[in-house]
């Protein structure tokens, strides 16, 4: 979250991708850093034990959110 805030402050739109359990932490951290609007996209937990195909499916599923976060959608 620090990285995303640093980048946004320098004029670079950024998005972080994390697994769902990270959401609370990310939101809190963004608020603390003064940028509650910092963008995140989430995929379901866990990922460690996924097959390659399943991992790709996660990426495909979250991609629209990633695009939206980078283009102000």
């Amino acid at each position: 979250m620090h990285d995303l805030v640093h980048l946004e402050r320098r004029g670079i739109p950024a998005v972080g991708i994390a697994t769902a359990p990270f959401a609370d932490e990310a939101i809190e951290q963004a608020r603390r850093l003064g940028m509650p609007g910092a963008r995140m996209a989430y995929i379901p937990h866990p990922v460690q034990l996924l097959t390659d195909d399943e991992l790709n499916a996660r990426a495909d599923a979250v991609f629209p959110d990633v695009l939206a976060a980078l283009t102000g959608g």
Binding site: R32, L33, G34, Q48
Partner: protein
């Protein structure tokens, strides 16, 4: 990432010696920790979320474990003060120890990541390890500990996530890099304040609950002084105290900070206008009365400059209230084109002792023995040198004409106040001549005038435009626009004048400092 190894390959491995700092003066040894029957070492690090989760989930179990003979110790790869703070925050009440770089203990235990739980039996042998948060493996490890002790030990609940990898152990990082990271660990609090935007550009004192509590003293933190413009954040005393801590105030200064905040938030002062204007307006805080000496406010040499904690931090605390709680941050809601350094904070104590006159607060209706703050919206000081005038008239003339361009060269007359800070040597000349404050004020007012024709260039007032060309126009709308205070060192003939913030109807506001304030710093 979540291996657990409960079997022993070859001969049982002895638990390496600990090279850690504990809370007491005595050395922390494996033998001490296993004396009850067994020890659980939980290696953690402050910035690792999985470590935090482990501490939170296992913390409540340690009490019962201790009774059964299993001594739990959290070994932090962080400075001891960080370890203690984090443990307290996460509710870990069992043992705490800390490693310094290069983390010999972590290396000796072959850690790759934290958290790592290591079970050590009475003989000092490693009976099992669990890396990361692995609920099933931890239950097995605790079961093993129970078997060693002949007791049934409480296990953590199976809440999600049941499996979570940890973070790299600092021992697994190159030693030089680890040392470099650790050096930064001590300054993390300071950097954290910058990261959060809780500063005015200078480092601040992190407002921990302990510090804020000490600052509040017997005040009720929930009491509100009202909304702080421009964002209208509510100025609870707790937030005012947080600003005072951030600024570096001592608790003894707090009553003065509160009084300054109350004065600034008086609608007559129009803080809102000052907070968002393009003018370089700052909030000048003048302090009078016994509180000056009680808290070490400087009214002598360097009275308008740096060097004295009370002056600098009280002025700064008020400004942080405006820029943080009120959101009036330069570059965002504060639109001052250039600003001025007084906006970092500007608190002046009047030198009542060498002044020939009644102090500002007495002029404004208070008793001499009352401690009072007076808030004036003003811009930066203009220095006035006069080392050669030999008469009070000449000196008064020089002082007055120095302010001719206050606010703007031809913007005459000025209704809003000009604050003259008269140095002791200059005041001494008026004392020797027996001039009262009112006489000086009247003389200065009468001295500065010009025919309207000479003011009709560039920015000027409607009054000047409407006046006949030969009509005399005064610099000020009335003598009351001239505020006079005395401050500065006893040697040297430099006075100063501060121009106003204009056009927003800001009134000068005074407020008594609430008592009792502590008489010792």
């Amino acid at each position: 990432m979540t291996e657990s190894d409960l079997s022993q390959v070859g001969a049982p491995l002895p638990a390496p010696a600990l090279s850690v700092r504990g809370l007491g003066p005595a050395e922390v040894t494996v033998a001490d920790l296993t004396a009850g029957g067994g020890a659980l070492l939980l290696f953690v690090s402050e910035e690792c979320p999985t470590s935090a989760m482990a501490l939170r989930r296992l913390g409540p179990l340690c009490g019962a474990w201790q009774e059964a003979g299993l001594t739990a110790t959290a070994v932090f790869e962080d400075p001891l003060e960080v370890a203690v703070r984090v443990a307290r925050r996460l509710g870990w009440q069992a043992g705490v120890a800390a490693e310094d770089p290069p983390y010999r203990t972590s290396r000796a235990y072959r850690l790759v990541s934290v958290p790592t739980a290591v079970l050590v039996d009475r003989g000092g042998t490693i009976a099992g390890t669990v890396t990361g948060w692995d609920h099933a493996a931890l239950v097995a490890l605790i079961g093993r500990a129970g078997a060693l002790l002949g007791a049934e030990l409480a296990i953590p609940e199976a809440t999600e996530p049941r499996l979570k990898p940890g973070c790299s152990s600092k021992a697994a990082i190159d030693p030089e890099l680890a040392a470099a990271i650790s050096v930064q660990a001590g300054t993390d609090d300071v950097e954290e304040m910058f990261e959060r935007g809780w500063t005015d550009g200078l480092p601040v004192v992190p407002p921990t609950p302990d510090r804020v509590e000490a600052m509040l003293g017997s005040c009720d933190g929930r009491v509100s002084l009202g909304p702080v413009p421009p964002d209208m954040g509510e100025a609870t005393l707790e937030r005012v105290a947080a600003c005072a801590v951030l600024a570096g105030c001592r608790p003894a200064y707090f009553p003065v900070v509160v009084a300054a905040a109350q004065a600034a938030l008086d609608p007559a002062f129009n803080l809102h206008g000052q907070a968002v204007t393009t003018q370089p307006a700052g909030q000048l805080v003048v302090v009078n009365g016994p509180v000056r000496e009680a808290i070490g406010l400087n009214s002598g040499m360097g009275a308008l400059g740096p060097g004295f904690r009370a002056n600098l931090t009280i002025g700064r605390a008020l400004r942080l209230l405006v820029t943080l709680t009120g959101g009036g941050m330069p570059g965002r809601l504060d639109r001052a084109t250039q600003g001025q350094m007084g906006k970092v904070g500007f608190c002046v104590a009047e030198n009542e002792e060498v002044s020939p006159w009644e102090p500002l607060h007495v002029e404004r209706g208070f008793r001499p023995g009352q401690s009072v703050v007076t808030l004036i919206g003003s811009d930066a000081p203009l220095s006035i040198s006069d080392h050669r005038s030999r008469t009070p008239e000449d000196l008064a003339w020089i002082l007055a004409w120095a302010a001719a361009s206050a606010w703007s060269t031809n913007w005459w007359p000025l209704e809003e106040p000009s604050v003259f800070v008269i140095c002791p040597e200059h005041a001494g000349m008026f004392r020797a001549a027996g001039w009262t404050k009112q006489q000086l004020r009247r003389f200065m007012f009468d001295a500065v005038h010009k025919p309207a024709a000479e003011l009709r260039r560039g920015e000027t007032t409607p009054f000047v435009h409407a006046a006949g060309p030969a009509a005399q126009v005064s610099k000020w709308a009335s003598p009351e626009s001239i505020v006079l205070i005395v401050a500065g060192g006893e040697a040297g003939r430099y006075s100063a004048v501060l121009g106003p913030c204009t056009g927003m109807g800001s009134q000068i506001v005074s407020r008594e400092v609430g008592s009792p304030w502590p008489l010792t710093t």
